[in-house]
Amino acid sequence: MHLKEIQMENFKTFRKKVVIPIYEGFTGVTGPNGSGKSNVADAVLFVLGPRSSKMVRAKRLEDLIFHGNDKFKPANECKVTLVFDNTDRTIPIDSDHVSLKRVIRRSTSDPNNTLSYFYVNGRVSSQNQFESILTHAHLSAEGYNIVLQGHISEFINKTPVRIREEIDEIA
């Protein structure tokens, strides 16, 4: 199982729908300050870690929706989809591809509230189902596989008990 592509629309600085193919091996991402590199990392976390505390840079979910610029008005919803190659059936779904999509939409009745929607292969799903798929796939936002900007030294700054607990969780 591996990641095939990241799709974003109206997610932070990514207004237009964009599809980023992810190949096997080592992919480098670079670009000027403020261009949106860490926003791509946030998009991955947005799908992988619905309950994750790692999404530090947004106080509220709605801060993730494109907030407009000199030309375009703020959007009302944003979407991120991660498409996985599942030919080895690591994810217990009988299809070669599995797409996990998360959408948040400003609620029309109460503008301060944002509603979250989850889709698996295009069909409406739930946050719990998302999480059970992610656990099967060994993909979690809380693990050692995602290191946010400026957080590299956090791994060794944890308390001794916390480090032992994390090794215990692996066991």
Binding site: I22, G25, G28, T30, S35, H138, S153, P160, I163, I170
Partner: protein, 164 residues
Amino acid sequence: RKEEFMHVYEGIDRNFKEIYQKVSGGGEAFFELERPDDPLSGGLHIHVRPPGKKMTRLNALSGGEKSLTSMAFIFSVQSWDPSPFYLLDEVDQNLDAINAEIIAKLVRENSKYAQFVMISLRKISLKEAHHLYGVTLQKGESVILGRVELKDVDSYEKGDGSAM
């Protein structure tokens, strides 16, 4: 339960010693359990000794030494708790040119077993990548420049680059 923990613990400890020695050019590292007889009731201390120095508390290490130790720890866990996908956002910020290259080569080696996406501003790291994407800001929106060549990175950074 204790046996299971000890089995994983000893495995990661062995990896950590090996990887730290490799990335630090001869330093020493090991784990120490607070309560070896009843490990699940105590914590776990990480000790490192950069080459030529005494064993130090992690807090006394320099910025670059901490980043290197953290990366060694992350890789030592990987073979026990493999994830198919890794995302590293500017983990080379604190590293000097030599250590940045060592970490990037380690990422390239490990990318045989898992996908690695590494965000970086440093050519010394990016040159190890198999594929390279550029992200730039145009009219206040992010645009992904398809697979770019490292030598082009300079020009587009100069161009619409100064996105600040």
